[in-house]
C-alpha cells in the first residue's frame, strides 16, 4: 500500500508485572482506512489503544501517529488524535453544547473556529436538537454520539474508538456504522474495536485479531477468512449411493469430520481451492452422482473462533 502509514505500531509491548498485556504487536493503518481490532475480553485491545492515545506508555516498542512517537511527542500525537474510550466520561450538570464547548476550548479552539467546530460536530452527530439537554438525560445511543462528537471536535486525522457500539440498539448501531464510514470517506483514519464482529466485517477495510496480547492475524476480512482456512468445510449432495460415498470419503487422508444427513454430506478437507477441485474431479470419476458441491462460506466470526483459542489473561 502506498504512502506513509498514519498509525504505525512497532513491536509494542506492555507488561503489568508478570502479565503480558500486549506482546510484540506490530501493524500499520493507512490514511482513510477503517481498521478493526478484534479480540476476546482481556486480549490487550484496550491497553494497546490506550498506548496509542498517549494514556499509557509501552514497556518496549513504540507507536507512531502521523510519524510522531507516542513516547517522544505525546503532545503532537494528541493534536492529531481523537480517542473514544469504552466509557462515557461525561460531567454532571452540563448540557450537550456546554460539554462539547468545553472540549473545544480544551483543544485550543477559539472564537469563530470553535463555533464552527461545534456546529459541524453537532450537525454530524445529529445532536442539534438536544444541544440544551442535560447529559444525564441522554439515552446510551445519544451519549455515544456525544462522545464521538467530543473525540472529533478538534478535527483529528486519526480516531480511536474502543467498543463504540457496545450496548447500542440495532438502529443506533447502524447509524454509528454509517457515521464511521462517512468519517473514513472524508479521509479520517479509524481504529475501532468491537465484539460485534459482523459489524466490523461490514465497516472495516482491514482487521487485526488479537489474543493474549499477541496479534494473531492481520488483513482484509476476505484475507482473514481465506488465509486461515487450513480445513475447508465442504457441503456435498449425492443423489444415490450415499453410504458408499461416505465410505469412500473416510478412506481419504485429506478428509475428516464426515456428517451424513440424508443425501447431504458435510465434511472438512485439508487444503485450499486446488485440492477442492481435485476432490470434485475424483468424486465424478468414481461415478458418484454429485448434485451439489460447495464450500461453506466462513464468516468473520468463524475465522475469529478459528484463529483465537479463547485464552484470557
Amino acid at each position: 500500500m502506498p504512502g506513509q502509514p498514519v498509525i504505525d505500531m512497532r513491536r509494542l509491548h506492555r507488561f503489568f508485572g508478570a502479565t503480558r498485556a500486549v506482546s510484540d504487536i506490530s501493524f500499520e493503518v493507512m490514511k482513510g482506512e477503517v481498521f478493526g481490532y478484534i479480540g476476546p475480553n482481556g486480549a490487550g485491545k484496550t491497553t494497546s489503544m490506550r498506548i496509542l492515545a498517549t494514556l499509557d506508555i509501552p514497556t518496549y516498542g513504540d507507536a507512531l501517529v502521523d510519524g510522531f512517537s507516542v513516547i517522544n511527542d505525546p503532545d503532537r500525537v494528541r493534536r492529531r488524535l481523537g480517542f473514544m474510550p469504552d466509557y462515557f466520561g461525561t460531567y454532571a450538570d452540563v448540557n450537550c453544547r456546554e460539554y462539547l464547548d468545553f472540549f473545544a476550548r480544551a483543544y485550543g479552539l477559539r472564537g469563530r473556529e470553535r463555533h464552527q467546530a461545534l456546529s459541524h460536530v453537532m450537525g454530524f452527530t445529529k445532536l442539534d436538537g438536544l444541544a440544551e439537554k442535560p447529559i444525564r438525560g441522554l439515552s446510551k445511543g445519544m451519549k455515544q454520539r456525544l462522545c464521538l462528537g467530543r473525540s472529533m471536535i478538534h478535527d483529528p486525522s486519526v480516531l480511536i474508538l474502543d467498543e463504540p457500539a457496545a450496548g447500542l440498539d440495532p438502529r443506533a448501531r447502524i447509524e454509528l456504522r454509517q457515521m464511521i464510514r462517512e468519517l473514513a470517506d472524508n479521509g479520517k483514519t479509524i481504529l475501532v474495536s468491537s465484539h460485534i464482529l459482523t459489524e466490523l466485517a461490514e465497516m472495516c477495510d482491514r482487521v487485526g485479531i488479537i489474543e493474549k496480547g499477541e496479534l494473531l492475524a492481520v488483513g482484509t476480512v476476505a484475507e482473514i477468512q481465506r488465509g486461515q482456512v487450513t480445513h475447508c468445510q465442504i457441503r456435498s449432495r449425492v443423489i444415490a449411493n450415499v453410504p458408499a460415498f461416505a465410505s469412500w470419503l473416510e478412506e481419504r487422508d485429506d478428509v475428516e469430520n464426515i456428517h451424513v444427513d440424508g443425501q447431504l454430506v458435510r465434511f472438512s478437507q485439508i487444503g485450499d481451492m486446488p485440492e477442492q477441485a481435485g476432490l470434485l474431479r475424483e468424486m465424478i470419476l468414481a461415478n458418484f452422482a454429485v448434485a451439489e458441491f460447495g464450500i461453506e462460506q466462513r464468516s468473520l466470526e468463524d475465522a475469529f473462533m478459528h484463529v483465537t483459542r479463547g485464552v484470557v489473561q
Binding site: 508485572g17 494514556l55 506508555i57 474510550p85 456546554e98 472540549f103 483543544y107 467530543r150
Partner: protein, 459 residues
C-alpha cells in the same frame, strides 16, 4: 441578520459573526460590554469556564450559598436582638463580626478546599481526567483551572456576606484595616488549603485510599477552621491584639505571605506533576522550587536572627529545615526515573551542566543527594554565620557553642534516616514498584522505630 434575533445569545446561534454585527448595528454600550466579556472568556482557562458553569447548577453550591445567606440573615437578626437596646449607642461591630466570620469561615475554609479536592478526585474516578489529559491542556492548566474555580467560589461567598460585613463597620467598634486583614488572610488560607486539597486528590487512584484521604482531609480542614476561627475571633474581640503600626508585625506578615505564596505555587506544581504524563520530567521544576523555599527560609530566619539578636532563630531555622528536607527527601526518593528520550535530550549534556544540575533530574538517587546536599549547605551557612557572629560578637552572641552541636546532630539524624530509607527503597525496587506514598510511609516508620527504640532499650 434581522433585528429580531439580536436578543438571543450569539453562542446559541453558533454564528460568531453575530457578535461584531450586533455591536456595529446597535452601538450599544452594554452590547460592547457583552462582546468584551465574550472575548475575555475566550482567554479564560477552559476548566474554569466549565467548572463555573457546573458550579452554578450544582446542588452543593446552591445549598451552601443558600445556607450562607440564611445564616447571615439569622445572625443579623439574632445579633441585633442580643445587642438591643445598646445597638443605638454602644459599638457592636466586633460582636457582630465574630458571628459573620464564623459563618464565612466554614464554607471558605472547609467547603471550598474540599470541593477542590473532590473536583480533581472525581475527574480521576469518573475517567474524565483521561479525556482531559489528551487535550491541549497541560497538567498545570488543569490544576490552576480547578484552583481558579475554587477562588471563584470563595469570591461568591465573600460577596454574599459583604453587605453584612459592611454592616459591622457601620455599627462601629471595628476599623476597616482589621476587617480587611481578617478577610485577606482567610482568603489566603482558603487558597492554600485548596492547593493542599488538589495535592491530596492526586496522591492515589485507589478507591479505598481516596476514601481514607477524603476523611482525613475533611477532619484536617475542620481542625484548621476551628483553630483559625478561634484565633481570629480572639483577635477581633481583643482590642489590644493587633499592632498594625508596628514594623515588626508587617515584617512577620511579609515573611508568612512569602511562605504562603511559595507553598501554594509548590502545591500546584506537585499536583500538576502528579497528573502529568508518565514519561514527562516531573521533578526538575519542583526541585528548583524546593531550592527557592530553602533560600526564602534561610533569608527570613537570618534576617530575624540579626534584627532581634536572638539565637533562638538559629534553632528554629535548622529544626524546621531538617523536618522539611526529611519529608522532601522521602518524597523525592520515591520518584521513578522514567523519562522519554525527548526529555532526556533536554537534560544538561556538558560536563559542567551534568555536575551542577544532575541533582535536579528525576530519580530516587538524585532525590536523596539533592535533599542531603541542600541540608548540608544550610548547615554550612548556619555554621559560618554563627561562628562569625560569635567571633565578632553580634546578633546576640552568647559565647557558647551549644547551637553548633544541635545543628550537627540534627543534620546527622536526617542524613542517617534518609540513608536507611533509601537503602530499603533500593531493595524493595528489586521486588516491585515503590510509590512516593510508600517511600514516605517507610521513612515515617523508620522515624517511629528510631524514636521508640530508646524507650524499649531503657525499659
Amino acid at each position: 441578520m434581522n433585528s429580531s434575533d439580536t436578543s438571543s445569545s450569539p453562542f446559541a446561534t453558533g454564528d460568531p459573526t453575530k457578535i461584531n454585527a450586533d455591536v456595529s448595528s446597535k452601538g450599544s454600550f452594554w452590547r460592547a460590554i457583552e462582546t468584551a466579556i465574550e472575548l475575555g472568556g475566550e482567554r479564560l482557562n477552559p476548566i474554569l469556564v466549565k467548572e463555573g458553569r457546573q458550579a452554578l447548577k450544582s446542588k452543593q453550591f446552591v445549598i451552601t450559598f443558600t445556607l450562607l445567606l440564611l445564616a447571615g440573615w439569622v445572625w443579623s437578626m439574632l445579633g441585633v436582638a442580643l445587642l438591643w437596646p445598646g445597638v443605638y449607642y454602644a459599638p457592636g461591630g466586633r460582636f457582630m463580626l465574630c458571628g459573620y466570620f464564623v459563618i464565612l469561615a466554614i464554607p471558605v475554609l472547609v467547603t471550598v478546599p474540599f470541593s477542590a479536592f473532590r473536583s480533581l478526585a472525581a475527574e480521576r474516578e469518573d475517567g474524565t481526567f483521561e479525556l482531559l489529559s489528551i487535550t491541549a491542556l497541560s497538567s498545570r492548566q488543569i490544576v490552576t483551572g480547578k484552583l481558579g474555580s475554587a477562588v471563584l467560589q470563595m469570591l461568591v461567598y465573600y460577596s454574599a456576606l459583604a453587605p453584612c460585613i459592611a454592616f459591622t463597620y457601620l455599627l462601629r467598634g471595628i476599623d476597616i484595616v482589621t476587617i480587611v486583614f481578617l478577610l485577606f488572610w482567610t482568603l489566603v488560607a482558603s487558597v492554600l488549603l485548596s492547593t493542599v486539597g488538589l495535592v491530596v486528590a492526586t496522591i492515589t487512584r485507589a478507591r479505598h485510599w481516596q476514601v481514607l484521604l477524603s476523611v482525613l482531609l475533611l477532619v484536617g480542614l475542620c481542625i484548621v477552621t476551628f483553630t483559625w476561627t478561634l484565633s481570629f475571633v480572639s483577635l477581633i474581640t481583643d482590642t489590644q491584639a493587633t499592632a498594625f503600626d508596628d514594623v515588626d508585625f508587617w515584617l512577620a506578615m511579609s515573611a508568612i505571605m512569602t511562605f504562603c505564596i511559595s507553598h501554594a505555587i509548590m502545591f500546584v506544581m506537585i499536583a500538576a506533576a502528579q497528573i502529568s504524563f508518565a514519561s514527562d520530567n516531573r521533578s526538575t521544576r519542583l526541585r528548583a522550587m524546593l531550592l527557592v523555599q530553602q533560600t526564602l527560609w534561610v533569608g527570613w530566619m537570618t534576617f530575624f536572627w540579626i534584627r532581634f539578636e536572638a539565637e533562638e532563630f538559629l534553632y528554629v531555622l535548622v529544626s524546621v529545615a531538617a523536618i522539611y528536607w526529611a519529608f522532601a527527601g522521602a518524597c523525592l526518593m520515591g520518584e521513578a526515573a522514567i523519562l522519554s528520550p525527548r526529555v532526556k535530550r533536554s537534560l544538561p549534556q556538558s560536563f559542567l551542566g551534568r555536575m551542577c544540575f544532575t541533582w535536579f533530574n528525576p530519580g530516587s538517587g538524585t532525590g536523596y543527594t539533592f535533599a542531603i546536599v541542600n541540608l548540608l549547605t544550610l548547615v554550612i551557612i548556619i555554621v559560618v554565620a554563627g561562628l562569625t557572629a560569635e567571633l565578632e560578637g553580634f546578633a546576640g552572641a552568647r559565647g557558647n557553642y551549644d547551637w553548633l552541636l544541635y545543628v550537627t546532630l540534627v543534620a546527622a539524624y536526617v542524613v542517617a534516616y534518609l540513608g536507611v530509607g533509601r537503602l530499603i527503597v533500593v531493595l524493595l525496587r528489586q521486588l516491585g514498584r515503590v510509590t512516593i506514598l510508600l517511600t514516605v510511609l517507610i521513612n515515617l516508620l523508620l522515624v517511629v522505630i528510631g524514636a521508640a527504640f530508646p524507650v524499649f532499650f531503657q525499659g
